[in-house]
């Protein structure tokens, strides 16, 4: 299953776990499963984070396809000047 790497702020939903696994063919599906297991986490990931997937950071990653061996890194939203 895809491995989800959480920011410290999101670990309050997982009892402190920094990396959790969740099934799904897209980032959005993975988030949905996480919301089922850790209520509130899905909303936090959807509205308060960008996702690093396969070396690329996406601000709206919901429909990105992921494989069972994909690592998803949720990071603070990035902006620039």
């Amino acid at each position: 299953m895809p491995r989800v790497h959480l920011m410290s702020d999101h670990r309050r939903f997982t009892g402190g776990e920094a990396v959790v696994e969740a099934g799904g063919a897209t980032v959005g599906a993975v988030i949905a499963e996480l919301e089922q297991r850790f209520p509130g986490l899905g909303d936090a990931l959807t509205h308060g984070a960008s996702a690093g997937v396969n070396g690329e950071i996406h601000s709206e990653p919901q429909y990105l396809e992921v494989d069972p061996d994909t690592d998803i890194y949720f990071v603070a939203p990035l902006t620039g000047g």
């Binding site: 920011m7 690329e56 990071v75 603070a76 990035l78 902006t79 620039g80």
Partner: protein, 740 residues
């Protein structure tokens, strides 16, 4: 000097043609927003708060509305109240105060009149009753227990919140066992640092002209880093549909992140709507400094552990950013600065604190320079303590592909080591330090971003081309787009006209930030050209009477065995008879923006009588991936460096106790000028970004990250005093010398 890593040879990419917009700019014919005048145009002026924080009890505009030449007056009551959860709520409140002024300079009314003088006179006649509220100016005041609220609508981002507070955001990143690493370390260095508010210092003040027609549609001409952003935010603040607004990008006289948001356009639009006349609104320099976003001030505590052989084993950082009156702080971006080093054990905490000061805004690599000043200073101190060369200690710990960033995700192919080696091998670093001078180095990092871009490429009948994009040319994007199109199509770069089109003439394009234009919009241009080449091959096959598979595209020519090559101009000449106009549009949401690293070196002297620092020599090294137009890349490196030197040595907002900025002019807010500095030498390193067809990495932001530490480290080596407070102005240096 360029160091090239595995780069193909190109015909056009990497050359230095005269920029397509150059003639207009050097002859003064380029049209900036303030240059535009429309028939019947009015001029607008603002009423701004003289108080740092106050409730607006009443605004009486009756006298102003009746004054000579006045055609319209607006206040907060003329704008819809967005829900505080709306993502544009803070922008809306900053455009025009509702109920409360949050900082000295906050706009609370505006007047449009026949002349600017009449508008200013009417502004002076507006009567306002205020109830003064406590003014919070510092991080300590903001975070104190029981502190009055700066902004009653602020809800902390990214963490659980039980109601409004002065905390804008709080982020923590951790890995490894920091405490154990510190306990086992051979050396631990801990320092506290602070930096002042600084402004982006663009020469062109914000300006716009807005004409709302009888059909209710608005034409906006504005200076910005993204006219689709101007359209979206203006529509949101006004409560309009996006389709009511067309934004035409004017030339931009500098933005550096400060023009990634709006201030004027909804106000001018409402004044135009009420008066039925076009309205021009141009800020004064004082208004730019008082009411458009500076970069946050900051405080930080940095603790780094090292082994005796120079391995950096742990870092524990706390950053406090003073973000002004609203909450646009985007998170732990400043912590990205530590992504330059491996650090097996790491803890980073960053907070944003609200104050009754102008809403802060991005400045090149937002919040990274403040963090890099602190971290790179401590690393320099470790190198001094261990008697290590400052490049060697960085090479010992530099991240490479696969190493984790501060936020965990592995780095892609990056060029930090190559930058360090390029500086180590440079003439500057190999030259002895001049007598009486000292040398410092510093490093920096920025992620860069991708996001959405569109491009249309039209081939003309004679084989020339027009490349149309939606990215305002803030740093050479027109020339870069033309060069990439020339490389793809195989035609002369001067036969291509790059155009930055209005919001109704090109596909949606995100704001130019995150050093993204040449990367993302360039990729859209390349994709459009490649689709166009497929169409050209098909047209050539028709003309030549051969199968499509028999046609290849070689340097602007369709080639097939047994036939004369068919140049592009011969195909465009037969466009009508082979299927019609040759035009292609491409749009994308680009991922894979390649991070850019930089390493700087500075030689300077310190006058111990006056405290004045004189920069003798400065070299900026940076990985550009591939420099599409090297002169523009070098210009970005030089520009970021000069702004960073200003941040290091002179620039700061000075407020009185009531929150009034006391140095709101370029006379008193001192940015560097040419006579202050030597030529900034550049070394462009090219480690191609594998996610871009030409290997581009954005270069616009990283250059401002290293200078403050670079200069501070040189001053420290000159004076034997570790400078920890910016700016390192003559009074501060004298005070440090006196204390020592």
């Amino acid at each position: 000097m360029t160091v090239t890593d595995d780069r193909p040879t190109y015909k056009w990419v990497g050359t230095r043609p005269i920029r397509h917009d150059g003639y207009e700019k050097v002859t003064g014919k380029a049209r900036f927003a303030a240059d535009l005048d429309l028939p019947g145009q009015l001029h607008a002026a603002y009423l701004r708060s003289p108080h740092g924080h106050a409730r607006i009890l009443s605004i009486d505009t009756a006298a102003a509305a009746g004054m000579p030449g006045v055609k319209a007056v607006v206040t907060g009551a003329d704008f819809p109240d967005l829900d505080p959860t709306d993502p544009n709520f803070d922008v809306s409140v900053n455009v025009m105060a509702r109920g409360t002024v949050l900082y000295n300079g906050h706009a609370l009314a505006a007047v449009a009149a026949s002349t600017r003088a009449e508008a200013a006179a009417a502004v002076a006649a507006i009567q306002v009753e205020y109830e003064l509220l406590p003014v919070i100016l510092t991080l300590e005041e903001s975070m104190a227990d029981g502190a009055p609220l700066v902004n009653e609508h602020n809800i902390t981002k990214f963490v659980e919140s039980d109601g409004p507070s002065n905390l804008a955001t709080s982020n923590v990143v951790e890995r490894g066992d920091v405490e154990a690493a510190f306990a086992a370390a051979d050396l631990v260095v801990e320092r506290e640092f602070d930096t002042a508010y600084v402004h982006q210092g663009y020469i062109e003040p914000h300006a716009c002209v807005v004409d709302v027609g009888p059909n209710g549609k608005a034409d906006i001409w504005a200076s910005s880093q993204g006219h689709f952003m101007v359209r979206a935010l203006t529509a949101s603040v006004l409560g309009w549909e996006t389709s009511r607004i067309k934004v035409t990008p004017a030339e931009i006289g500098g933005g550096f992140g400060g023009k990634t948001t709006i201030y004027l356009e909804p106000v001018a639009a409402r004044l135009s709507e009420k008066s039925g006349r076009p309205v021009k609104l141009v800020l004064t320099r004082e208004e730019v400094l008082r009411a458009t976003g500076p970069a946050p001030a900051s405080k930080s505590r940095i603790k780094i552990a090292a082994s005796n052989d120079g391995e950096l084993t742990a870092i524990d950082c706390w950053f406090g950013y003073v973000v002004g009156c609203t909450n646009d702080f985007a998170g732990l971006v400043g912590a990205m600065s530590v992504a330059s080093y491996k650090f097996p054990n790491l803890k980073l905490e960053a907070i944003g604190a609200l104050t009754n000061t102008p809403k802060s805004a991005a400045y090149r690599a937002p919040s990274a320079p403040q963090a890099a000043f602190a971290i790179e200073s401590v690393i320099d101190e470790i190198a001094q303590t261990l008697d290590m060369d400052p490049i060697d200690i960085r090479l010992r710990n530099a991240v490479v592909e696969g190493d984790p960033t501060a936020m965990g995700m592995p780095h892609p192919r990056i060029g930090f080591v190559e930058c360090l080696e390029a500086l180590r091998d440079s003439d500057h670093y190999r030259s002895p330090v001049p007598d009486g001078a000292a040398r410092g180095i510093g490093a920096g990092f920025w992620f860069n971003i991708g996001e959405q871009s569109s491009a249309t490429v039209n081939l003309n009948e004679d084989g020339t081309a027009t490349v149309i994009t939606g990215s305002p040319d803030i740093g050479g994007s027109r020339a870069s787009m033309a060069l990439m199109a020339a490389e793809e199509l195989g035609i002369d770069v001067y036969s291509i006209t790059p155009v930055v089109a209005d919001t109704e003439s090109v596909g949606f394009t995100d704001v130019t930030e995150g050093s993204r234009a040449t990367f993302s919009t360039g990729m859209a241009v390349v994709n459009a050209c490649r689709d166009l080449i497929e169409e050209l091959r098909a047209r050539a096959a028709t003309i030549l009477g051969v199968d499509l598979d028999a046609v290849t595209w070689v340097d602007g020519t369709a080639v097939t065995d047994g036939k004369d090559p068919l140049p592009l101009s011969a195909i465009t000449a037969k466009a009508k008879s082979t299927g019609g106009p040759l035009t292609v549009t491409a749009s994308l949401n680009a991922g894979g923006a390649g991070p850019s690293f930089a390493v700087h070196c500075c030689d300077l002297t310190v006058d111990e009588e006056t405290g004045q620092v004189t920069i003798l020599r400065y070299t900026a090294v940076q990985d550009a991936g591939t420099a599409i137009h090297p002169s523009y890349v070098e210009g970005q490196l030089q520009g970021g460096t000069v702004q960073g030197i200003g941040w290091a040595l002179n620039e700061e907002y000075i407020f009185d106790d009531a929150g009034s900025m006391e140095n709101a002019s370029f006379l008193d807010y001192r940015i560097p000028v040419a006579s202050d500095l030597p030529m900034i030498d550049t070394i462009v390193v090219e480690v191609p970004n594998p996610a871009h067809p030409y290997g581009v990495r954005g270069v616009g932001e990283t250059g401002i990250v290293p200078p403050m530490a670079t200069v501070a480290n040189a001053i420290t080596r000159a004076t034997s005093i570790r400078m920890t407070s910016l700016p390192m102005s003559p009074p501060k240096i004298l005070a440090a010398l006196d204390t020592d």
